[in-house]
Structures are given as C-alpha cells and as structure tokens.
Symmetry: C2
Subunit: 566 residues, 2 copies
C-alpha cells in the first residue's frame, strides 16, 4: 500500500474566501487543531463538521456549492479503469446517492431568520455542483474481487468550482471515499444540499478494523447482520469477525456435516445460517469493502458440536465411570482430524477470505485429565502430565489442516501463550487482561514476530452507565514497550460484542455509536484524541446513522433532526 | 377494593386427571411451591408456565382444550353489565384475540416425535374450547371512565370443559384478566393452540405500579410511548409517569402558553407533543387500563421553561451584576403564580387523572441567594437565610393552585424532607439513597402519615453488565421498620428510565424485561421471590413480548421461537 503524500499544513487565508456564501456550519470553518474540550458540549461544533472517522488530512474552504437531486450525478470518470458494469461501484453510486439526498447531516441549530439563503442570494448566488467523478487508477480495479488484508483503501477527494473528484487505486478506496463524500454534504435550514470547497487525502492508520459478532449465544437474524454491515461501512470498518458457533448453538449449516446444525442449532430450520444466507452476508459485506472472517473456535467452546457429531468431544469421567458431561474436542482419536479436515475444507471454500479465526481460547483441561484414552495418548506421545502439550498437538494439527487449504489463521492469545508453534504470518488476537496486562502481551507477541490484533479494551458487551465511549476512544493500540518494528506488527483491532446478553432486540443500539469510537481510533491519525471535538462530530454522525436506518443510541442529552421511531 | 377470597391450597389429586391428553408443557404441571433454583436454567420450566406477573392464586390441571381460530370467540356474557358497545372491552377482545392466535407462547423444546397429537388422539380426543365469556358485575362497568387509584383490578378466570369465564367487577379487572387468559394459551409443536383446565383468582398487591419515562432529555416519538404502553399492559403496570419537561427541553405544547414549546422544545414542530398527541396517548393508555400522570417539575429543573416565559426563572447574580445564567423559578414575583395558576389549570384539564406529579426535587439555592429581589423577599417574609422556607413557600403556593383544580399531587421526597406542609393525601415519591437510606425514608414518610411510592432501587437507566434484573426483582417495598399501618401506606412504586442516555433507539430493550421484574414485585404475592422460577417464566414472557412486537432484550443465552429481526 502506497499512501499518498500527506498535506497537513493548511492555508488559513483560504478560510476567508467565500465566507457569507454558505451557511456558517461547522463544515465551513477550519482550525489547524481542534479545540481542547474536556466537557463535551453539543452546541460547540467541531471544525470538521460531521466527519467520522476523521480523515488523515482535511482542508476546508468557506466557498460552497449546491447539489440538485434531479441533476447531480456520481459517475465513472473517463480516465477510470472502472467503468459502468463495475458492480461494486455501480451499487455504491446508487447507495450513496440515496444517502446524500435522504440522509445528509441536517443542521439542528436554529439560525437567525436573516441568515436564510434568500439573503445570501442577494449578495451572490451559490454555484451548483453537478457531478462527482470517480477515478480508479489501478489496471485491475478489483470490481469482482474480495477485499483482503492488503487492499488499498486510500483515496483523495477534491471539491472545487471545477467539480468534485474522488480518486483511488482500487474500488476499496473508492468505497471509503464515497462514504466521506456523503459526510461532506449537509443541508441548510431550507433543505438545500450544500458541499464546501474541500481537499481530503485519506487512508487508514490500521489495516484490520473489525467488529466481532456472536451468533451462538443468541441467533442473530440475517437482517441484523446486514444492518451491522451497513453501520460498519459508515464507520469505515473492514472486517466482520463472525464468531458463528460456540457451546450454546451451532447455527452454521454445513453441507458436509448437516447434523451439526440439525442437532446443534437452537432450531434446525429457523435458527441456522444456510449456505445461501452465508453467501448473501459475504456478498453484502464485499459490496461495502468488508471482509468476513468466520471463527470456528476449537478445541474448547464446542459443546454444541457434540450434539451432531458423535465421539468428537472428550467423554469426561467421574473416577472410573463415564459421567454425563463432555469436554473439549478429543485430540486422542484419529476420527477427530478426519472430521476437521473435511469441515475446514468446506469452510475454506465457503468463506473466501484469506484468513480463518481458529479460536483456541479458554481450554479447560480437567475433562481431558479424567479420560483414560486421553491419558493413554498423553503417555504414548510423551506429554507427561503437561496438557498444554496436548493442546499444542491439537492446535498444530488444525493449523496444518487450515494451511493445507491455503488459508492464514488468527488465534486467541492463549494459543501463543501456551507455546504452540505458529507460522510467522499467524495473527495473535489479544483479548485478556487490564491495560498493563494487554500491553505486556502486545509487547511479548510482537517481540516474537507475530502480527497482533487488540480487543482487550474493546469488549463492548460490557456495558456501563454513562459516557463509556470516552474510555473506548482513549485507547492507543501502539502504546506498549517495544521497537518501531514491533509497533508496526499491530495491524489493528476489533470491537467485540459477545452475545450472552445481546440479540436482534438490542445489538445495534448497544454497538453504535460505541463501536464508532473504535472505528476512529483505528482509522484516524494517532493524535486525533480530543474528546470534545470527537463528541461534536460523533453526535452528528450518530444522527446521520439514524437517518440511514441504524438505531444508534444517544451519547448524552440532545436530539436529532430526525429521531428513530422504532 | 374488596379482593376475592384467596384459595391457595391445591388439590394434588387434580394433577393426575387427564394427563396424557395434553402436551407436557410447564403449564400442565403444578407444584405447591416453586423449586429453589439459584442458578437459572433455561431448560427447567416453571410449573407456572409463562405467567407473568404471577397471579395471586393459580390452580392448573392436566386436562386441556383446543382453540380454533375460526371458531373461538371472546364475548360479553349474558349477565355482564358491559355489553357490545363497551368500547374498552370491544377493543380489548379484538386485541387479545390477535395475541392469542398470533403470539401465544410457543414451546421451544424439542419433543420426541411420538408425543405428537396424532398419538394422543388415538388415546382420547382433546375437546375444543369455543368461548371466553367475560362478565363485568358492577352496575357501572366503567366503559367510558378513566382508571384511577381506586380502580378495582381484581378478576377470576375459570377454564373447564364447561367453558372459559372471566369475571371482574369492572372493565379494569377484565383487562388484567384478558392479559392473563392470553398467557394461559400455548402452542404445541403442531401449532395447535391449547389451554389447560385452570382456576385463577387474582388482584394486585400494590395499587400504583408505574413506569417513569423522560421526554425532556431526549424527545420520545409518540410511537415509542405507545409501544411502552403496550408493554406495560403485558406486565400489568397501571401508571405512566410522564416526566414530560425538564431543563433540557419543553416538548409539551401548551395552548395557554404556546411559546413554552415554541422556544423551549428541541424543535418547535417536530419535537413537541401537541394536544392531539397527548390525547392519543391518554386514550391509548386508558384502553389498556393505564393512568397517565404528567410531571411538571418545579421550581428546579426548569431551564427550558425560561426560554418561552420571560421573568419566570430567577436571574442569577455575580456579586452586584446579573450573570448570564438563570436559576429555579422565581418565587419572589407575583407573575410567577399567575403563570402557574393558568398553566396548571390547563394541565388539569388536559390530563384527566386525579393526580399530578409536581416534582420539587434537587432545588439549588445558590441562584436564589445571589438575587437581590429574592433576598428582599426573604427578609420581608421573615425567612431569614433559610432558603428551605422559600422553597416551602413556593411549593405550598403551587400545591394550593393544584388543589384548587381538584387534583391530588405527588412530589419527590425532598419536598417532604424539607418540611413543606403537605395535605395528608399527598404521595411522597422516594427516589434517593441506598437500601438503608430509602428504607429509613419510607419509615419516616409513612410515620408522618403519607402515602409513599418507591423508586430508589428501580432506576433502570442505571445499566450494568449481567443479570441485573435479579437485584431489581429482590426488592421488597415493605421491608422497613414500621407498623402494619405504615406498611399499608406504601401504595406501590415506579421503575424509572431517565432519559440522559435513552431515546427511541434504545428505550424499549433497555426497559424490558428489566421493568417486568418490578411489575411482578408490585403485582404478585410477597413470597413470590424464587429467582429460578422467575427466570423460567420471564424468559418465556420476553419471547411473548417479542412476538407482540416489543424488542425486549435477552436475559441470558438462549433463544425464542420467533426472534426480533429489527
């Protein structure tokens, strides 16, 4: 990825141009540094308007242009390698056209009657902006590809009296740019759509910006997952980490092993994801530049697997007698690996992403310890009584299976902590501990040369009264002791919404706009940390999400021009 | 109110009758005491099925009957004083018919194929239940009245092969009984609607069972309030405490003082409650047996009032100079009371309930202290420097105004704490403090002879991770030091959902089913306290709410036959 040159110095002289032509919205003002507000105030606008996450560089100008719904067009430029027929962009053009004209941020502040456009027009007419020309520059615009960890999401936007242009190397950058462009358009008191003269050069700080959803503790209807993907695209997230199965239920319908969901789902018909559902979700995500990484967590967290696959789980024993409970996947029998080989072959075909999340967290050894076959296996392999060696044996076998399918893998930190031999392209997912503890883990895992993802401070299922978005926002993923090279190995993070207390009734308002705070942390510059400025932009962004159909909950007292009515 | 005789002893012999005719759902079993579960288990059914809140007495029998949607009727019995044309019941009959056939609780447990109805029919046919006959016995069934603090909500239900009957003194009891009847009907695996032989005698333990909503910190769309009223009726709540205005906004559109919302609402057109909105909400509530008690909180919490009513608020001073801030309502000028007289006259007409909540909480004296006119007023009235005397003077004046409109009043506890002289029918609303503190307040206020409402432990806006419904449920409103007569003065309580972090996006899942825990505490017998049994019934009741369109959030892992799709 080659980020464009960053222009951060801003000509303050530009600020004076054209003032008086446009409504004095936040978008029409600019300061080099956002003001230091520690107590958020709704009435104190950010100079960056409603932009979220904040682009790497923004230059605003007081001059602005009108957009007319009947005439405005978003189209491929003549020099673009993407043309009509590039489905991902054609779909995005239509989608963002709709957002621009039905759900732009509407100023909610009352203005003196004298500031209406009539008065302004007396002084000078506001010119019209007729087009946004989109240019993709790479030879292969990737119209039919899937986004990947190496996708280039950089883009540039230039809005001037000459027109509006969006330029990106691939469709992935174009998608991000379209979201930003839609955030630049605002409505005045007379419903006129306006956009200011603007220059934006933008790219993400981190390449992996994920949301974890959990469809095992509660089944999440497909509609809810699609809504999540919409909201993700509004916040420039690019990975849906789909924790699809767990102890409680197995909603993934496997073609190879249909009994898994037949027996392991909450309901074998209504509470499953069919091949067609999975395909729909992956395509919906692709069209929004979002990767779908499934997690099939083993050897623990697999109680639901055992219902449809005999002899997969370890039979636990009470002394000499088999008890009525089962433990983790049984690594002491060959059938286990035959099963895993077939299952992961199917999963590797079903999910096009280069990565699979293999879980590996919270393996309880007590059941393994009780089982005579497992004990015998330990002896014959010379593992002594170190069950971490058995865990390693199991995980390494699964990693080999997945590697054979030419997939990379992500694993929860315990796999690394327990000394499992991992390929160097493994991504270690850090989820445990308080700040000091996860920072230590980041240091250790990167010192060992692994790429890491951070989630410990972003378990959004853990709710608390008040403005907890601030703590979420303050996290700095590279704040740990390590070399510059180590810091670079932090490729991003994920906001996790585990499902114990979450289903379709409350997922969306619980996730947004709290996850938006993670979104900006992972996209914007490291020094974008002023809470007051973030609050001002995010309250507007939340209102925009509501207008786009996302019931994002309020951050504090206040209102949106258009409220969610349920 | 004359509660019917309570029959609590249950003939266990009845349990054996007819077993095998019906599906073995929880509703078909009965034990005298619910099992002691401390760790809720989804799979362990309550003997009381999905009943919520639990009626005072329930007798189930294994015999059951089928309901056919094409033939079943809910109708006025020939001896009922209410007949066709009693709008409140005609409306309720249709509503509950819909609930019974579209959203009965559906068993989610899988059963062996051999337990299907075909097999059963081989042994004996399940008879059909054709009617629910509803009898209202009082001379005035109150079809066109509003519910009040003295409304009788008692009812009896008898379901046997002779038919199903619901008997109540007034329509208010009939409404509660219809809800219970709808909770008795369940679906088997073949979608057959069934009801067991049942006898229920029921009445509320507390007369005031309220939900507080706050439409000032965020505007709540009318749709959201109506949805809340629906959910309230499903949980047998009977008071909507509408905290309609506060510092942040004044959405109530006053006919007498239209500037209040014109200037004080978040938006003068889209973010207000018109007279027609208020009327719709009150009528919707009446049809569900819910009183609407508005709160117009003064003299504090009134910043938004000042925008549309000049000189109402106290001008604060910095030394000798007026500052840019305003304090509570100014009690030192006569215009204040002229304004309040007119406003409360209008409010008294608009809201038919016998009570108005006058607020009176959290009055900050610092602004009063700074204002020279107020200081002069204090001197001339001999108040010295005791601003509680000024507060009392103000409150007593407002109480007199409200009394003149023949309304009773509720006030937050500070008004009592500060020694304001109150009429003995005043309801003191206890909201402050931890358990020890609020129990002391309950003792003190009832010792002084006042009726009290409890809300301190039920501030549901204060969210926490996990199953916090258990703490909500464990509260015992009469657990304080006092005589039996004092205990009787506790007329109920309210679950409060203050609006700082709540609007239409998250109100419903945040309120339900957590408020349901309050609902049962205020309706059912004091000894209905077993968490496991409550968990089993409430998870089913939540699923039923979802089928009725209420996105009530999950209590823990699990699923509903019909999930909320957003």
């Amino acid at each position: 990825m080659t980020p464009p040159v960053v222009v951060r110095a801003l000509g303050s002289a530009l600020l004076l141009l054209g003032l008086g032509l446009c409504l004095p919205t936040a978008a029409a003002r600019k300061t080099t540094e956002p003001p230091e507000w520690t107590v958020p105030k709704e009435d104190t606008d950010s100079p960056y308007g409603s932009l979220w996450p904040l682009p790497q560089t923004v230059r605003f100008d007081g001059e602005c242009y009108r957009l007319n719904q009947g005439r405005f067009q978003i189209l491929h430029s003549s020099t673009s390698t993407a043309t009509v027929g590039c489905g991902i962009l054609d779909d995005a053009f239509r989608r963002y056209f709709g957002y621009i004209f039905s759900s732009s941020y509407r100023t909610t502040h009352r203005r003196p009657v004298s500031s209406g456009p009539e008065d302004k027009e007396k002084s000078a007419p506001v010119p019209e902006m007729l087009q946004l020309q989109v240019t993709v520059t790479w030879k292969d615009p990737e119209c039919d590809k899937y986004p990947s960890v190496t996708s280039n999401e950089a883009y540039e936007i230039h809005v001037s009296k000459l027109g509006a242009t969006l330029k990106a190397e691939t469709v992935w950058g174009a998608l991000r740019g379209l979201e930003t462009f839609s955030q630049l358009v605002y409505e005045d008191d007379y419903d006129t759509h306006l956009i200011n003269k603007t220059d934006i050069i933008d790219f993400p700080r981190f390449t992996h910006r994920g949301i974890l959803i959990d469809s095992s503790r509660h089944y999440l209807p497909v509609e809810v997952i699609l809504q999540t993907l919409d909201a993700m695209s509004f916040n420039k997230f690019n990975v849906l980490h789909w924790h699809i199965v767990d102890d409680q239920s197995f909603p993934y319908q496997s073609i190879t092993f249909p009994e898994l969901s037949q027996q392991g789902a909450y309901h074998p018909v209504t509470h499953i994801y069919t091949a067609s559902d999975v395909k729909e979700i992956i395509e919906y995500a692709r069209l929004r530049g979002v990767r779908v990484i499934p997690e099939f967590d083993t050897p623990g967290h697999t109680q639901s697997w055992g219902k449809g696959q005999a002899d997969l789980l370890t039979q636990c024993y009470n002394g000499e007698e088999p008890s009525r409970t089962f433990g983790p996947v049984n690594p002491a029998v060959n059938t286990t690996f035959g099963f895993m080989t077939k299952l992961f072959k199917e999963i590797s075909r079903t999910f096009p992403d280069d990565y699979i999340h293999l879980g590996g967290d919270e393996v309880d050894f007590s059941c393994w310890r009780s089982n005579p076959t497992v004990k015998q296996f330990m002896e014959s392999h010379g593992f002594g009584t170190d069950y971490r060696k058995l865990e390693s044996f199991y995980i390494q076998s699964v990693l080999d299976i997945v590697s054979a399918n030419r997939k990379g893998y992500m694993i929860w930190q315990e796999v690394f902590d327990n000394g499992v031999k991992l390929k160097l392209d493994t991504i270690v997912h850090v989820w445990k501990g308080n700040t000091a503890q996860y920072q230590k883990e980041l240091a250790t895992a990167t010192a060992a040369g692994f790429h890491v993802l951070i989630s410990s401070p972003w378990y959004l299922n853990r709710i608390a009264y008040g403005q907890d978005w601030q703590q979420i926002y303050k996290v700095e993923p590279r704040n740990f002791t390590g070399t510059a090279a180590q810091k670079k190995l932090v490729i991003g993070g994920e906001a996790c919404l585990w499902g114990e207390y979450v289903d379709g009734t409350n997922l969306t308002p619980r996730l947004w706009p709290r996850a938006s705070a993670v979104g900006e942390r992972l996209w914007s510059q490291e020094n974008v940390t002023v809470l007051g400025d973030a609050y001002s932009r995010l309250t507007k962004h939340r209102c925009r999400m509501i207008r786009r159909g996302i019931p994002a909950e309020p951050m504090f007292v206040g209102h949106c021009a258009y409220e969610y009515k349920g």
